[in-house]
Symmetry: C2
Subunit: 387 residues, 2 copies
């Protein structure tokens, strides 16, 4: 009988509720209540959104730099990123400066929210001599197609009168002139990679505005305006650069920030979970594991949610490691998840609950603990039936 | 390695949603998907309410008698009970004739609903020469203190003018005269036992009307009237018989039907699950089991719900058999359940859902199956870690 199980805990944050690191603690504790001798390896994971820096820094090392930047509505925000001096690398998450948790979700706010602060973080890193940036985009409060970020980096977007356009997706359709002549020259010596698990295009009924602006507080009418703005920008870009951003999967990520990164920062748009797995040497960590516990707040077949778990399942399948997933909502699993050999998937709810109740951090942690207890007791029972 | 597990499936109905028998089928199928060689023993269980006859008849045998009786609102209802000729025994559930699923839950209905039909079933059994009745009370549409049942059995309850009072709890306070002189004489040669897991008293803030009339559609005002009626009846009974029904735990069961059974039918009020376990030889069935799967629609620390699972846990503990419970709602577990060594308890929900969604039979069966699959896969995984 095997005495020491190796269990890898790699759970995404329950967004807007509990962080990946906190969930890892709760789960490890709960495992140890039942299997005190188990070897537990906690790996905070993230898909490019909130928690991206927390997930990478433990492995990459370096220090945390905190900057005062402009938040989504030009409010003052303290945002931090990871800086690894040795390799001149910065790990930045846009959510730290321009994230949805920094803005009240109310009608109209997403019309004028800007990614300017994300640009400021990049400028700070460039000024330190940064040669490589891993930029996680996700959890955005914005739908400005990254114009704010580009403005902070010296790009100009002017209207017919030659005036710089105002902040936010509401003004995209006024863009008449794109001027990259004063772009920050430090960008030339810096390689940027973007992490996102969104493959949406810039405009259209299933793309950036229509899929994501509602959760940022836009009304139906506002969503249509934002979509028009993105379409207008794509046309202007096509005229000036001969490039069709609509052809780029992921250009609609983070309210169109993906497209700007791709075109103006020459950044490849990569899968967040794949990038993370590579940097963390995830496959090497799990190959001799007996069990992986993963999960995220919501698993959804349509949006970026669920992609992280798919990535983890892909690795688990390669090395034949069983996976238990816990989540607040797995009603809509993707086909990939259904095909993958998930050992078990549980929602943490013990009753019909409202979304509001379910999003309470105390509720979530308590129910995650209970669920993991039950899971571990069942495994323990299975072991006993052999003896 | 033990090749054949014996798994006992003893799940109560998910009330108003799926029967105990159906759930047993779904669960047995799901177990066999993962453990094709497991020996599965399905035991439908019930606490005295809906499913009481279904639970007992497979063991007691006999035939099913169907009668046309008066439903809760004097509508025509086909109700059946089990009749075992050999032992002159009838198994009757009041829910078949006077149950909540036979009445629309809307304002006022509980004020005039009657247990008359339950009395008619008893009369039918008496006319067959019945010597013993196991009467399950639970799931009632009524708050008439069993007056309807007694009227069907020849008792009279008259107002100040000497008129028989009308149906329902609304009229209890008009009772001025109780006349048992014309009670059905066959009652004398019949022993009646009542199964209930409710220990509430007749009247008061935590008793029959206040605890249960709301779910039968009563408003705050109506609940107060019903409670007054029950108190008035108790006073009249005290005057005439010198008996205080309020001293009898369970007198408030099924809208006061418990009290009437106790006093007028000389029936002991017994724990439904205990009576069932005795008749089914439950302990003998589980003593060599490897696992018990139990559950019910809702587990509640306050009401009768959860008592069935407590009863099963009690037996399981005696023989050291682990238990997995599944439910639609285990947010409020009783202290007894928390102390008992439950291996695992899972709600079947995969997301925040409304009660309405949760009460859909298709949803429930599908999610029960998924949950049992996950449970069995975890046990199977545990077994594999030993080899």
């Amino acid at each position: 009988m095997m005495n020491k199980m190796k269990i890898v805990v790699a759970v995404d944050s329950f967004k807007g509720c509990v962080s990946s690191v906190e969930l890892g603690e709760v789960i490890a504790d709960a495992i140890q209540d039942i299997f005190p001798k188990a070897k537990i390896v906690k790996i905070p994971v993230a898909d490019g959104g909130e928690g991206w820096v927390d997930a990478l820094q433990p492995v990459l090392g370096g220090e945390r730099i905190t900057c005062l930047v402009h938040g989504p509505l030009r409010n003052q925000v303290r945002a931090s990123y990871a800086w690894i001096e040795d390799t001149k690398t910065a790990v930045i998450e846009m959510a730290a400066a321009s994230g949805i948790s920094l803005m009240q979700i109310q009608e109209g706010n997403v019309m004028r929210s800007t990614t300017f602060g994300t640009g400021e973080l990049i400028v700070d890193a460039l000024n330190r001599g940064c040669e490589k940036i891993c930029l996680g985009i996700g959890g955005s409060a914005t739908n400005d197609a990254g114009i704010g970020m580009l403005q902070a980096l010296g790009f100009h977007f002017r209207d017919k009168e030659g005036q710089e356009i105002k902040d936010g997706g509401a003004h995209l359709k006024e863009i008449a002139d794109i001027d990259d002549s004063m772009a920050n020259p430090l960008l030339l010596s810096c390689k940027i990679e973007v992490a996102t698990d969104v493959r949406n295009q810039l405009y259209g009924k299933y793309e950036a505005a229509y899929m994501f602006a509602r959760q940022k507080g836009a009304t139906d009418e506002q969503i249509a305006l934002l979509d028009d703005g993105l379409r207008h920008l794509a046309n202007e870009i096509r005229k000036k650069y001969g490039v069709d951003l609509q052809d780029c999967p992921g250009s609609g990520a983070a309210g169109g920030l993906g497209g700007s990164c791709h075109l103006f920062l020459h950044a490849p748009l990569l899968s967040g979970i794949s990038m993370l797995k590579r940097i963390l040497h995830f496959d090497e960590t799990i190959r001799d594991a007996d069990l992986i516990i993963t999960g995220e707040g919501k698993i959804d077949a349509q949006t970026e949610q669920g992609k992280l778990i798919e990535g983890i399942l892909e690795s688990a399948e390669k090395y034949n490691v069983p996976v238990v997933a816990i989540t607040g909502n797995c009603a809509e699993q993707s086909e990939a998840m259904k095909k993958n050999p998930l050992l078990a998937i549980f929602s943490i709810h013990d009753a019909p609950v409202s979304l509001e109740q379910a999003m309470n951090a105390g509720y979530a942690c308590c129910h995650v603990r209970q669920t993991i207890h039950s899971v571990m007791k069942l495994i323990s029972f299975g072991r006993k039936t052999c003896s």
